[in-house]
Protein backbone atom coordinates (compact mmCIF):
# COMPACT_ATOMS: atom_id res chain seq x y z
CA UNK A 1 0.00 0.00 0.00
CA UNK A 2 2.69 2.42 1.02
CA UNK A 3 4.75 1.33 -1.97
CA UNK A 4 1.92 2.28 -4.28
CA UNK A 5 1.61 5.65 -2.60
CA UNK A 6 5.32 6.22 -2.94
CA UNK A 7 5.31 5.43 -6.64
CA UNK A 8 2.30 7.67 -7.07
CA UNK A 9 4.06 10.42 -5.14
CA UNK A 10 7.17 10.08 -7.27
CA UNK A 11 4.95 10.47 -10.29
CA UNK A 12 3.48 13.61 -8.72
CA UNK A 13 6.91 15.10 -8.17
CA UNK A 14 7.99 14.32 -11.70
CA UNK A 15 4.88 15.96 -13.11
CA UNK A 16 5.09 18.88 -10.70
CA UNK A 17 8.61 19.74 -11.69
CA UNK A 18 7.65 19.53 -15.36
CA UNK A 19 5.85 22.13 -17.42
CA UNK A 20 2.56 22.08 -15.52
CA UNK A 21 3.06 24.92 -13.04
CA UNK A 22 -0.16 26.40 -11.71
CA UNK A 23 -1.00 29.72 -13.37
CA UNK A 24 -0.31 33.00 -11.57
CA UNK A 25 -3.82 33.35 -10.17
CA UNK A 26 -3.83 29.79 -8.79
CA UNK A 27 -0.34 30.27 -7.35
CA UNK A 28 -1.67 33.22 -5.37
CA UNK A 29 -4.53 31.11 -4.04
CA UNK A 30 -2.15 28.31 -3.05
CA UNK A 31 0.21 30.72 -1.30
CA UNK A 32 -2.71 32.10 0.69
CA UNK A 33 -3.96 28.59 1.49
CA UNK A 34 -0.53 27.57 2.81
CA UNK A 35 0.05 30.75 4.83
CA UNK A 36 -3.45 31.02 6.29
CA UNK A 37 -4.82 27.50 6.52
CA UNK A 38 -1.72 25.30 6.77
CA UNK A 39 -0.55 28.19 8.95
CA UNK A 40 -3.14 27.44 11.63
CA UNK A 41 -0.95 24.51 12.69
CA UNK A 42 2.42 25.27 11.07
CA UNK A 43 2.38 29.01 11.77
CA UNK A 44 1.70 31.81 9.30
CA UNK A 45 5.45 32.32 8.99
CA UNK A 46 5.81 28.52 8.69
CA UNK A 47 8.11 28.39 11.69
CA UNK A 48 6.00 25.67 13.25
CA UNK A 49 3.23 25.45 15.79
CA UNK A 50 1.35 22.33 16.77
CA UNK A 51 2.74 21.05 13.46
CA UNK A 52 6.45 21.14 12.55
CA UNK A 53 8.24 24.04 10.86
CA UNK A 54 8.04 24.11 7.06
CA UNK A 55 11.10 26.23 6.38
CA UNK A 56 13.79 25.22 3.85
CA UNK A 57 16.23 24.51 6.68
CA UNK A 58 13.79 22.15 8.40
CA UNK A 59 12.81 20.36 5.17
CA UNK A 60 16.10 20.11 3.27
CA UNK A 61 16.94 16.58 4.40
CA UNK A 62 13.46 15.22 3.69
CA UNK A 63 12.64 13.49 0.39
CA UNK A 64 10.27 15.73 -1.62
CA UNK A 65 8.13 12.78 -2.69
CA UNK A 66 7.41 12.00 0.97
CA UNK A 67 6.39 15.60 1.59
CA UNK A 68 4.07 15.57 -1.41
CA UNK A 69 2.47 12.36 -0.13
CA UNK A 70 2.07 13.92 3.32
CA UNK A 71 0.22 16.92 1.88
CA UNK A 72 -1.86 14.88 -0.49
CA UNK A 73 -2.78 11.89 1.68
CA UNK A 74 -2.24 13.30 5.17
CA UNK A 75 -0.33 11.37 7.79
CA UNK A 76 -2.43 8.89 9.77
CA UNK A 77 -1.75 8.88 13.49
CA UNK A 78 -0.94 12.58 13.47
CA UNK A 79 -3.23 15.61 13.11
CA UNK A 80 -2.04 16.16 9.49
CA UNK A 81 -5.14 15.79 7.29
CA UNK A 82 -5.21 14.94 3.58
CA UNK A 83 -5.56 18.03 1.38
CA UNK A 84 -6.39 16.19 -1.84
CA UNK A 85 -9.90 17.63 -2.11
CA UNK A 86 -8.46 21.15 -2.35
CA UNK A 87 -5.61 20.73 -4.82
CA UNK A 88 -4.31 18.58 -7.62
CA UNK A 89 -1.29 16.31 -7.31
CA UNK A 90 0.77 18.72 -9.37
CA UNK A 91 -0.19 21.61 -7.11
CA UNK A 92 0.95 19.68 -4.01
CA UNK A 93 4.26 19.17 -5.82
CA UNK A 94 4.50 22.88 -6.58
CA UNK A 95 3.88 23.72 -2.91
CA UNK A 96 6.66 21.33 -1.81
CA UNK A 97 9.07 22.83 -4.33
CA UNK A 98 8.30 26.33 -3.06
CA UNK A 99 8.50 25.30 0.59
CA UNK A 100 11.92 23.78 0.05
CA UNK A 101 13.28 26.84 -1.71
CA UNK A 102 11.68 29.55 0.46
CA UNK A 103 7.94 30.09 0.34
CA UNK A 104 6.53 33.28 -1.29
CA UNK A 105 4.81 35.86 0.95
Amino acid sequence: MFGNKLIFALFLVSTATGASEPDAERQKELVRLVRQDCGSCHGMTLQGGLGPALLPASLHDKPPEGLVATIYFGRPGTPMPPWKQFMSEAEAGWIVKKLMSGFPQ
Binding site: Q36, D37, S40, M44, T45, Q47, G49, L50, G74, P79
Partner: protein
Protein backbone atom coordinates in the same frame (compact mmCIF):
# COMPACT_ATOMS: atom_id res chain seq x y z
CA UNK B 1 4.12 75.58 50.44
CA UNK B 2 1.60 77.54 48.38
CA UNK B 3 4.06 77.57 45.52
CA UNK B 4 4.41 73.81 45.65
CA UNK B 5 0.63 73.36 45.74
CA UNK B 6 0.05 75.59 42.74
CA UNK B 7 2.82 73.78 40.90
CA UNK B 8 1.17 70.43 41.64
CA UNK B 9 -2.19 71.82 40.55
CA UNK B 10 -0.71 73.01 37.27
CA UNK B 11 0.87 69.60 36.74
CA UNK B 12 -2.46 67.90 37.46
CA UNK B 13 -4.34 70.14 35.03
CA UNK B 14 -1.72 69.62 32.37
CA UNK B 15 -2.01 65.87 32.71
CA UNK B 16 -5.81 66.13 32.40
CA UNK B 17 -5.75 68.30 29.30
CA UNK B 18 -6.85 66.33 26.30
CA UNK B 19 -7.69 63.19 28.25
CA UNK B 20 -10.88 62.57 30.10
CA UNK B 21 -11.46 60.23 33.00
CA UNK B 22 -13.15 57.04 31.89
CA UNK B 23 -13.59 53.37 32.84
CA UNK B 24 -12.36 50.34 30.91
CA UNK B 25 -15.38 48.02 31.10
CA UNK B 26 -16.46 48.52 27.51
CA UNK B 27 -13.06 48.39 25.83
CA UNK B 28 -11.35 45.64 23.88
CA UNK B 29 -8.76 44.82 21.28
CA UNK B 30 -8.68 43.13 17.91
CA UNK B 31 -5.62 41.18 16.79
CA UNK B 32 -4.54 41.95 13.23
CA UNK B 33 -2.58 38.79 12.70
CA UNK B 34 -0.61 39.47 9.56
CA UNK B 35 0.60 42.98 10.23
CA UNK B 36 1.55 42.84 13.92
CA UNK B 37 -1.04 45.44 14.90
CA UNK B 38 -3.83 45.56 17.43
CA UNK B 39 -6.83 47.84 17.04
CA UNK B 40 -8.34 49.11 20.28
CA UNK B 41 -12.13 49.32 20.29
CA UNK B 42 -15.01 50.71 22.31
CA UNK B 43 -18.02 48.36 22.46
CA UNK B 44 -20.42 51.16 23.41
CA UNK B 45 -19.72 53.35 20.39
CA UNK B 46 -18.80 50.24 18.34
CA UNK B 47 -15.83 52.13 16.96
CA UNK B 48 -12.07 51.76 17.04
CA UNK B 49 -10.21 54.43 19.01
CA UNK B 50 -6.55 53.57 18.45
CA UNK B 51 -4.23 51.26 16.55
CA UNK B 52 -0.88 50.03 17.82
CA UNK B 53 1.84 48.34 15.75
CA UNK B 54 5.16 46.62 16.21
CA UNK B 55 3.84 43.57 18.04
CA UNK B 56 5.60 41.01 15.82
CA UNK B 57 4.01 37.79 14.55
CA UNK B 58 0.44 37.80 15.83
CA UNK B 59 -0.83 34.69 14.07
CA UNK B 60 -2.67 32.74 16.76
CA UNK B 61 -2.17 35.61 19.22
CA UNK B 62 -4.35 36.00 22.30
CA UNK B 63 -4.72 38.46 25.16
CA UNK B 64 -5.61 38.59 28.85
CA UNK B 65 -6.31 41.62 31.05
CA UNK B 66 -5.17 43.00 34.36
CA UNK B 67 -7.95 42.89 36.94
CA UNK B 68 -8.69 46.61 36.52
CA UNK B 69 -9.07 46.13 32.79
CA UNK B 70 -6.49 48.78 32.12
CA UNK B 71 -3.67 46.65 30.79
CA UNK B 72 -3.79 43.99 28.11
CA UNK B 73 -1.11 41.32 27.87
CA UNK B 74 -0.79 40.14 24.27
CA UNK B 75 0.87 36.79 23.56
CA UNK B 76 2.40 36.61 20.07
CA UNK B 77 3.34 33.54 18.10
CA UNK B 78 6.99 34.61 17.97
CA UNK B 79 7.25 34.50 21.78
CA UNK B 80 6.60 38.22 22.18
CA UNK B 81 4.78 39.32 25.33
CA UNK B 82 3.47 42.86 25.08
CA UNK B 83 1.79 44.90 27.82
CA UNK B 84 -0.59 47.53 26.46
CA UNK B 85 -2.17 50.41 28.33
CA UNK B 86 -5.78 50.44 27.06
CA UNK B 87 -6.41 54.02 28.25
CA UNK B 88 -3.22 55.64 27.05
CA UNK B 89 -3.33 53.42 23.95
CA UNK B 90 0.34 52.58 24.00
CA UNK B 91 2.81 49.78 24.59
CA UNK B 92 4.08 49.89 28.17
CA UNK B 93 6.56 47.04 27.92
CA UNK B 94 7.48 44.30 25.51
CA UNK B 95 9.72 41.24 25.91
CA UNK B 96 10.58 38.31 23.66
CA UNK B 97 10.31 35.39 26.04
CA UNK B 98 10.61 32.31 23.82
CA UNK B 99 10.88 31.18 20.21
CA UNK B 100 7.34 30.01 19.65
CA UNK B 101 4.43 30.71 21.98
CA UNK B 102 0.78 29.80 21.90
CA UNK B 103 -0.96 31.90 24.53
CA UNK B 104 -1.04 32.77 28.17
CA UNK B 105 -3.03 33.40 31.27
CA UNK B 106 -3.11 35.65 34.33
CA UNK B 107 -3.20 34.57 37.98
CA UNK B 108 -6.17 34.89 40.32
CA UNK B 109 -4.52 37.80 42.16
CA UNK B 110 -3.51 39.47 38.91
CA UNK B 111 0.18 39.57 39.82
CA UNK B 112 1.55 36.82 37.60
CA UNK B 113 1.29 36.43 33.84
CA UNK B 114 2.09 32.92 32.60
CA UNK B 115 2.95 32.12 28.98
CA UNK B 116 2.69 28.70 27.37
CA UNK B 117 5.34 27.84 24.85
CA UNK B 118 5.80 25.35 22.04
CA UNK B 119 9.54 25.97 21.62
CA UNK B 120 11.15 25.40 24.01
CA UNK B 121 8.13 23.58 25.46
CA UNK B 122 7.02 24.71 28.88
CA UNK B 123 5.57 27.65 30.74
CA UNK B 124 7.16 30.85 32.04
CA UNK B 125 5.88 33.17 34.77
CA UNK B 126 6.32 36.93 34.64
CA UNK B 127 5.67 39.76 37.06
CA UNK B 128 2.52 41.46 35.69
CA UNK B 129 3.85 44.85 36.74
CA UNK B 130 7.33 44.73 35.22
CA UNK B 131 7.30 41.63 32.96
CA UNK B 132 10.35 40.42 34.85
CA UNK B 133 10.84 36.65 34.50
CA UNK B 134 9.98 35.00 37.82
CA UNK B 135 10.33 31.31 37.07
CA UNK B 136 9.78 28.64 34.46
CA UNK B 137 8.56 25.07 34.26
CA UNK B 138 10.06 23.18 31.30
CA UNK B 139 7.64 20.57 29.93
CA UNK B 140 10.21 17.79 30.15
CA UNK B 141 7.92 14.79 30.38
CA UNK B 142 10.70 12.23 29.95
CA UNK B 143 14.46 12.71 30.27
CA UNK B 144 15.52 15.06 27.46
CA UNK B 145 12.04 15.06 25.91
CA UNK B 146 10.08 18.31 25.87
CA UNK B 147 6.45 18.72 24.95
CA UNK B 148 4.47 21.54 23.44
CA UNK B 149 2.16 23.05 26.04
CA UNK B 150 -1.53 23.59 25.25
CA UNK B 151 -4.67 24.70 27.05
CA UNK B 152 -3.08 26.80 29.81
CA UNK B 153 -5.79 28.05 32.20
CA UNK B 154 -5.75 29.91 35.49
CA UNK B 155 -7.36 28.43 38.55
CA UNK B 156 -7.77 29.31 42.20
CA UNK B 157 -4.78 29.85 44.47
CA UNK B 158 -2.54 31.12 41.67
CA UNK B 159 -2.49 27.64 40.19
CA UNK B 160 -2.30 27.06 36.45
CA UNK B 161 -3.43 23.92 34.67
CA UNK B 162 -2.20 22.91 31.20
CA UNK B 163 -1.69 19.90 28.99
CA UNK B 164 1.29 18.41 27.17
CA UNK B 165 0.61 17.52 23.53
CA UNK B 166 3.42 14.97 23.11
CA UNK B 167 3.57 14.10 26.81
CA UNK B 168 -0.11 13.16 27.05
CA UNK B 169 -0.34 14.59 30.57
CA UNK B 170 -2.09 17.35 32.49
CA UNK B 171 0.18 19.41 34.73
CA UNK B 172 -0.86 21.75 37.52
CA UNK B 173 1.71 24.32 38.64
CA UNK B 174 1.18 26.19 41.89
CA UNK B 175 2.71 29.67 41.86
CA UNK B 176 1.87 30.55 45.49
CA UNK B 177 5.58 31.18 45.63
CA UNK B 178 6.04 32.64 42.15
CA UNK B 179 9.77 32.04 42.08
CA UNK B 180 9.47 28.41 43.14
CA UNK B 181 6.43 26.83 41.50
CA UNK B 182 5.41 23.32 42.50
CA UNK B 183 4.11 21.05 39.77
CA UNK B 184 1.88 17.97 39.89
CA UNK B 185 1.57 15.62 36.90
CA UNK B 186 -1.42 13.52 35.81
CA UNK B 187 -1.68 11.06 32.90
CA UNK B 188 -4.37 12.38 30.51
CA UNK B 189 -4.47 10.51 27.20
CA UNK B 190 -3.26 10.71 23.63
CA UNK B 191 -2.41 14.13 22.15
CA UNK B 192 -4.28 16.72 24.20
CA UNK B 193 -4.78 19.63 21.78
CA UNK B 194 -6.37 22.31 23.99
CA UNK B 195 -7.87 22.78 27.40
CA UNK B 196 -10.24 24.85 29.47
CA UNK B 197 -11.26 25.42 33.03
CA UNK B 198 -14.94 25.56 34.03
CA UNK B 199 -16.32 29.00 35.03
CA UNK B 200 -16.06 28.10 38.73
CA UNK B 201 -12.43 27.09 38.27
CA UNK B 202 -13.09 23.57 39.51
CA UNK B 203 -12.62 21.31 36.49
CA UNK B 204 -9.84 21.36 33.92
CA UNK B 205 -10.75 19.63 30.67
CA UNK B 206 -8.27 18.68 27.97
CA UNK B 207 -9.62 17.69 24.56
CA UNK B 208 -7.81 14.70 23.08
CA UNK B 209 -6.91 14.45 19.42
CA UNK B 210 -5.33 11.00 19.48
CA UNK B 211 -8.39 9.28 20.91
CA UNK B 212 -12.12 9.85 21.26
CA UNK B 213 -12.63 11.55 24.57
CA UNK B 214 -11.82 14.38 26.92
CA UNK B 215 -9.54 14.17 29.98
CA UNK B 216 -10.89 15.85 33.10
CA UNK B 217 -9.16 16.81 36.33
CA UNK B 218 -11.02 18.00 39.43
CA UNK B 219 -8.82 20.84 40.65
CA UNK B 220 -10.54 20.74 44.03
CA UNK B 221 -9.41 17.13 44.43
CA UNK B 222 -6.43 16.76 42.13
CA UNK B 223 -5.15 13.76 44.04
CA UNK B 224 -7.99 11.74 42.56
CA UNK B 225 -6.25 12.11 39.19
CA UNK B 226 -7.55 12.79 35.72
CA UNK B 227 -10.33 10.69 34.28
CA UNK B 228 -11.81 10.31 30.82
CA UNK B 229 -15.20 11.61 29.87
CA UNK B 230 -17.05 11.34 26.58
CA UNK B 231 -15.05 8.23 25.88
CA UNK B 232 -15.63 6.75 22.47
CA UNK B 233 -17.92 9.57 21.33
CA UNK B 234 -16.88 8.82 17.77
CA UNK B 235 -18.05 5.23 18.29
CA UNK B 236 -15.13 3.87 16.34
CA UNK B 237 -16.23 5.50 13.12
CA UNK B 238 -13.55 6.98 10.92
CA UNK B 239 -12.91 10.63 11.66
CA UNK B 240 -13.48 13.31 9.08
CA UNK B 241 -10.31 15.24 8.32
CA UNK B 242 -9.71 18.15 10.71
CA UNK B 243 -8.31 21.15 8.84
CA UNK B 244 -8.03 23.27 11.95
CA UNK B 245 -7.87 22.28 15.60
CA UNK B 246 -10.88 23.29 17.69
CA UNK B 247 -10.36 25.77 20.50
CA UNK B 248 -11.81 24.98 23.87
CA UNK B 249 -11.20 28.25 25.60
CA UNK B 250 -14.52 29.75 24.70
CA UNK B 251 -16.05 27.48 27.29
CA UNK B 252 -19.78 27.08 26.88
CA UNK B 253 -21.95 26.15 29.78
CA UNK B 254 -25.64 26.84 29.88
CA UNK B 255 -28.50 25.39 31.92
CA UNK B 256 -26.27 22.79 33.52
CA UNK B 257 -24.95 21.57 30.21
CA UNK B 258 -21.62 22.02 28.51
CA UNK B 259 -21.27 22.37 24.75
CA UNK B 260 -18.02 21.08 23.25
CA UNK B 261 -16.68 20.67 19.72
CA UNK B 262 -16.37 17.05 18.53
CA UNK B 263 -13.11 16.17 16.79
CA UNK B 264 -13.45 14.86 13.25
CA UNK B 265 -17.22 15.06 13.40
CA UNK B 266 -19.55 17.83 12.35
CA UNK B 267 -21.22 17.90 15.73
CA UNK B 268 -21.36 19.80 19.00
CA UNK B 269 -21.37 17.44 21.98
CA UNK B 270 -23.72 18.23 24.85
CA UNK B 271 -22.62 17.11 28.32
CA UNK B 272 -24.44 17.21 31.64
CA UNK B 273 -21.98 18.93 33.99
CA UNK B 274 -23.39 17.15 37.08
CA UNK B 275 -22.62 13.67 35.77
CA UNK B 276 -20.20 14.51 32.89
CA UNK B 277 -22.18 12.15 30.68
CA UNK B 278 -23.08 12.91 27.10
CA UNK B 279 -26.74 13.88 26.87
CA UNK B 280 -26.94 14.84 23.24
CA UNK B 281 -25.17 15.97 20.10
CA UNK B 282 -26.20 18.68 17.71
CA UNK B 283 -25.37 18.42 14.01
CA UNK B 284 -23.68 21.52 12.59
CA UNK B 285 -22.30 22.51 9.20
CA UNK B 286 -18.61 21.79 9.65
CA UNK B 287 -15.80 20.94 12.05
CA UNK B 288 -16.52 23.28 15.00
CA UNK B 289 -13.62 25.49 16.11
CA UNK B 290 -15.12 27.84 18.69
CA UNK B 291 -18.31 26.83 20.52
CA UNK B 292 -19.14 29.84 22.65
CA UNK B 293 -22.13 30.61 24.85
CA UNK B 294 -23.68 34.04 24.94
CA UNK B 295 -23.12 35.32 28.49
CA UNK B 296 -26.71 34.48 29.49
CA UNK B 297 -26.33 30.93 28.14
CA UNK B 298 -29.42 31.08 25.94
CA UNK B 299 -27.45 30.80 22.72
CA UNK B 300 -24.29 28.99 21.68
CA UNK B 301 -22.47 30.30 18.59
CA UNK B 302 -20.30 27.99 16.50
CA UNK B 303 -17.73 28.76 13.82
CA UNK B 304 -15.90 26.23 11.68
CA UNK B 305 -12.60 25.00 10.34
CA UNK B 306 -11.52 25.43 6.72
CA UNK B 307 -13.22 24.97 4.25
CA UNK B 308 -16.42 25.90 6.11
CA UNK B 309 -14.94 28.96 7.79
CA UNK B 310 -17.39 31.37 6.20
CA UNK B 311 -20.32 29.86 8.09
CA UNK B 312 -21.77 30.37 11.55
CA UNK B 313 -24.41 28.29 13.31
CA UNK B 314 -26.37 29.52 16.31
CA UNK B 315 -27.77 26.94 18.73
CA UNK B 316 -30.72 27.79 20.94
CA UNK B 317 -30.02 25.99 24.21
CA UNK B 318 -33.71 25.79 25.08
CA UNK B 319 -34.63 24.18 21.76
CA UNK B 320 -31.41 22.14 21.68
CA UNK B 321 -30.85 22.76 17.97
CA UNK B 322 -29.49 25.21 15.43
CA UNK B 323 -32.00 28.04 15.01
CA UNK B 324 -29.96 30.34 12.79
CA UNK B 325 -27.39 29.48 10.14
CA UNK B 326 -25.73 32.12 8.02
CA UNK B 327 -22.61 33.13 6.10
CA UNK B 328 -21.46 36.41 7.61
CA UNK B 329 -18.17 36.70 5.72
CA UNK B 330 -14.98 34.99 4.61
CA UNK B 331 -12.64 33.35 7.08
CA UNK B 332 -14.58 33.77 10.33
CA UNK B 333 -11.82 33.08 12.87
CA UNK B 334 -13.13 34.25 16.21
CA UNK B 335 -16.03 35.80 18.07
CA UNK B 336 -16.52 37.81 21.24
CA UNK B 337 -19.73 38.79 23.00
CA UNK B 338 -20.28 42.18 24.53
CA UNK B 339 -20.36 41.96 28.35
CA UNK B 340 -24.04 41.09 28.59
CA UNK B 341 -24.35 39.50 25.17
CA UNK B 342 -26.63 41.83 23.20
CA UNK B 343 -24.02 41.97 20.44
CA UNK B 344 -21.41 39.60 19.10
CA UNK B 345 -18.32 40.69 17.19
CA UNK B 346 -17.00 38.34 14.49
CA UNK B 347 -13.63 38.60 12.80
CA UNK B 348 -13.83 38.01 9.04
CA UNK B 349 -10.17 37.53 8.18
CA UNK B 350 -10.48 37.40 4.41
CA UNK B 351 -12.85 40.37 4.25
CA UNK B 352 -10.49 42.49 6.40
CA UNK B 353 -13.40 43.38 8.67
CA UNK B 354 -14.83 42.81 12.10
CA UNK B 355 -18.60 42.39 11.85
CA UNK B 356 -20.97 43.34 14.66
CA UNK B 357 -24.28 41.51 15.00
CA UNK B 358 -27.35 41.90 17.17
CA UNK B 359 -27.81 38.48 18.84
CA UNK B 360 -31.60 38.77 19.08
CA UNK B 361 -32.45 39.81 15.54
CA UNK B 362 -29.26 38.43 13.88
CA UNK B 363 -28.94 41.64 11.89
CA UNK B 364 -25.61 43.27 11.19
CA UNK B 365 -25.41 46.55 13.05
CA UNK B 366 -21.88 47.63 12.28
CA UNK B 367 -18.44 46.78 11.04
CA UNK B 368 -14.86 47.85 11.65
CA UNK B 369 -12.01 47.71 9.16
CA UNK B 370 -9.08 45.56 10.32
CA UNK B 371 -6.14 43.96 8.51
CA UNK B 372 -6.64 40.17 8.59
CA UNK B 373 -8.40 40.24 11.97
CA UNK B 374 -8.24 37.13 14.17
CA UNK B 375 -8.77 37.20 17.95
CA UNK B 376 -11.16 39.69 19.57
CA UNK B 377 -10.73 40.22 23.32
CA UNK B 378 -12.89 42.46 25.50
CA UNK B 379 -11.87 43.70 28.95
CA UNK B 380 -14.73 41.77 30.60
CA UNK B 381 -12.33 38.80 30.45
CA UNK B 382 -10.44 40.47 33.30
CA UNK B 383 -13.03 39.24 35.80
CA UNK B 384 -13.57 35.74 34.44
CA UNK B 385 -11.83 32.58 35.62
CA UNK B 386 -10.20 30.71 32.75
CA UNK B 387 -10.05 33.70 30.39
Amino acid sequence: MRLILSFLLALFLASCAGSQVRGTGDLGLIIERASGHVTLVDTTTRQPYARIGGLGDLSHASAVYSRDGRYAFVFGRDGGLTKIDMLEAKVVKRVIQSGNAIGGSISQDGRIVVVQNYTPGGIKAFDAETLELLSEVPAEYAPGKFSKVVGLADSSGNRFAYALFEGGEIWVSDFSNPRQPKTQRFPAGSQPYDGLVTPDGRYFLAGLFGEDGVAMLDLWQPDKGARKILENYGRGQEKLPVFKMPHLRGWSVAQGKAYLPAIGRHEVLVVDVATWKEVGRIPVRGQPVFVMARPDGRQVWVNFAFPDNGKMDVIDTLAGKVIHAFEPGKGILHMEFTPRGENVWLSARDDNKVLIYDTTTFTRIGEIAADNPSGIFFTTRAARIGF
